[in-house]
Amino acid sequence: MEKDFTEKDFTEKDFTEKDFIKKGSIEKDSIEKDYILKIEGISKSFPGVKALDQVSFGVERGTIHALVGENGAGKSTLIKVLSGIYHAESGEILLDGKRCNFTQPSDARAAGISVVHQEIKLAEPLSVAENMFLGNLPVKNGLVNWKEMRVKAQNIIDELGIDIDVNQAVNTLTIAKKQIVEIMHAINFGSKIMIMDEPSATLTEHELKVLFRIVKKLRDKGITIIYISHRLEEVFELTTTTTVLRDGCHIATLPTASLTKEQLISLMVGRELGNEFPKECYPIGETILEVRNLTRKKVLRDISFSVNKGEVFGISGLVGAGRTELVRAILGIDPYDSGKIFYKNKEVSFKSFHEAIHNGFGLIPEDRKLQGLVQMMDVKTNICLANLDKVLHGGIIRSALEKKYAEEYVKKLSISTPSIHTEVQYLSGGNQQKVVIAKWLLRDSEILILDEPTRGIDVGAKTEIYRLINRMVKAGKTIIIISSEMPEIIGMCDRVMIMHEGRKTGELMRSDATQERIMAACV
């Protein structure tokens, strides 16, 4: 029943997608456009992942061009290639028809491409004017010409019609204004192309309007803008053309006006769910964890949900939605301001992560390399690290026991390692993740929380990890998966909660969860 639904869903999508691409190519052929930037066949891979695969598209002069795609679609990599942080393995960047070869960020900036990053990078204690001219200070007789700098800064501010004092220290400004200072900094470098990486992610409604006005003014001044955003409303309001990336591939570049939100979403997520997800269903018990009205100022807003024993519960949302923060608050790593947590029908409030672990929680953290494993320790030691009680005998660590458990779990999870004495840093990402899972399996945690369990892991190893999740559920464990990969959430979870900006924006049962519905709650 369920399968029928998804299949039908995808046939529809395939049809519409082909339709779009055809439409796009006709347009491309018929009119010769004035491209300021042409990206031709850019590829970039990282160990185990092809981040960009033959990406080609053009950006028209003086337009606002949207770049959209799911997390991991390759947007960030593309920006980094364009701004000279990464070097593409193949392909060309043509700026005004000239071939560019950026080896470092300053090359890109000198050529007229600047990036306004999501995380603001300003010299906080310095004034607005100084920050605007950072790296480009007006000089007179070898000294900084303060007067000229202030006048020039004021001119730019007046032109954009914003209310900022040039002499104010940047660290006293709101995030929105800091962002504007960053934009002005980029203007000062004579940028022809400005790439804005999710400039709106942290702004309020009102601040957003100011930002939009500025972006439009910049366009009117002749600056070309590549605008990256997860908020699709913005894409429709601001941009003339939209490029969609998915799994490192260029999917389509189309006039924004020719698209509907639904069509755009299906272009972003459209991919087939194969047998990649070997989901098995087991009986679900009663509530084991309940969270009521959990709130942490500026991070989590009034979140309530419950998880049942033996369930695979997914938490979906975009990066920065507050998913990891939610889990951290529950596990006593971060404090929370209000709300209640019930675990096995008793109210709990863990004061430390240590306490949470001793009550039966396990966490497979987001950053496997840094947080999951001690890289310089061997497989055996890492597996036993959270389970010293099991290998201690009379206060002394028994090597034989350590070896026994390590070998047992290496076999059970088919971790491929030369030996249990190999340092984990020499294992592949997928095998490292299995070692982290082994650690908590051996501990026999009641509730295991997996934060981005398959990030950066190749497809084969992913499926193996999903099988491990099945095995844990079969053994009566409860699983919470945080994931930005929607197919993973849909493929593996019995129920999914969607978060956006620290709020719960939806909850779907397995049978109702489609990429479109989740995406709609995400943005």
């Binding site: 430390s352 992560f353 240590h354 947080q371 999951g372 001690v374 890289q375 310089m376 002394i396 660590i397």
Partner: protein, 328 residues
């Protein structure tokens, strides 16, 4: 089957020799060179001297090594030795707090406790207040030395009670007691660090603070513990040193913290934390003392020796940094 086990056992030993016990090879090589250049070098008296000198530094260095394992650093150890010695000596003579001379053993316990307390302060400042260990311990170093100067008026305290003389000048058979103390402390520390929960967790904290935290290890508590242990060991080192010299002066323990770091790094402990064996530190300190003993024997200017010490430190750290870079 048996053959292959024996073979892999041999391989293991060879690998260990190459890694952790390189320093032993170093000591042997150096001995050969110095023996050939000085007739006095290879005598029991001289070796006894080397071990005697090593013992006090090595006891303090053990504390530094434990701190280094977690990736921290204690600059105050040398002056902590000094302060503890001064307070201990004055208590034994009844010149501070009370006018009555304390029982020497009671005074000894008091001085070790004081040194551990200084370590506790270092630990609280570093782990819980969040100061960089470098700054926190630089501060306590000055405080310790200042107090030591104040209470002794910067004059040496000679002639300590005979009861404690046994620690630094006594012998069991032909072996000096302080050398036995050193060996026992290292043996104990080595065993505990490899075979107990606390030891395992120390290595984990040093290997990756984050990973240790996400395994449920109370990282801050471990930082604190290491500083307290190092403080207590500085106290013990101070006690043995004053007993050996039969006097206390402000130069007691001077530069011990640096000798301890050099010794630890030569012995295979990584500045980055999480790597190395504690026993290596003892060998590293012996290496260092042997080197300077030998250089004195063959008549190298003491000032030149200081320059060489600097080189040894830089070379040891360079090797450490390079090998660790390869790892990551």
């Amino acid at each position: 089957m048996v053959e292959s086990v024996a073979k892999s056992g041999f391989k293991k030993v060879a690998r260990l020799m190459m890694k952790e016990y390189m320093v032993v090879i170093g000591i042997l090589l150096m001995s050969v060179i110095f023996t050939l250049s000085s007739p006095y070098f290879f005598t029991w008296d001289n070796w006894k001297n080397i071990l005697l000198q090593s013992s006090t530094v090595a006891i303090v260095a053990l504390g530094q090594a434990i701190i280094l394992l977690t990736g921290n650093f204690d600059l105050s150890l040398g002056r902590n030795v000094c302060l503890a010695s001064c307070v201990g000596a004055l208590l034994m003579k009844g010149q501070v707090i009370t006018n009555v001379a304390w029982n020497p053993w009671l005074a000894a316990i008091a001085m070790i406790s004081l040194a551990a307390f200084v370590g506790l302060c270092n630990g609280l400042l570093t782990a819980y207040v969040g100061l960089p260990a470098f700054i926190a311990t630089l501060g306590t170093q000055y405080i310790c030395f200042g107090i030591a100067k104040l209470i002794t008026s910067a004059t040496p305290i000679p002639q300590l009670p005979d009861a404690i003389g046994f620690l630094g000048r006594g012998y069991i058979g032909a072996i000096p007691v302080c050398v036995i103390i050193m060996i026992c402390l290292y043996a104990l520390a080595q065993f505990l660090s490899i075979k107990t929960r606390v030891g395992r967790n120390l290595y984990a904290v040093g290997g990756s603070r984050e990973a240790a935290f996400f395994t449920g290890i109370k990282v801050k508590k471990y930082y604190l513990i290491t500083f307290v242990i190092a403080g207590a060991l500085a106290g013990i080192g101070g006690l043995v040193l004053m007993s050996r010299l039969n006097s206390v002066s402000l130069s007691n323990g001077q530069n011990y913290e640096f000798d301890a770091v050099i010794g630890s790094i030569i012995g295979g402990i990584s500045l980055a934390g999480g790597k190395g064996k504690l026993i290596g530190t003892m060998l590293g300190v012996i290496f260092l003392v042997t080197l300077f003993n030998g250089m004195s024997q063959i008549g190298i200017d003491p000032f030149v020796q200081d320059v060489l010490k600097g080189f040894v430190l830089v070379i040891a750290i360079t090797i450490d940094v390079l090998t660790n870079k390869k790892r990551t």
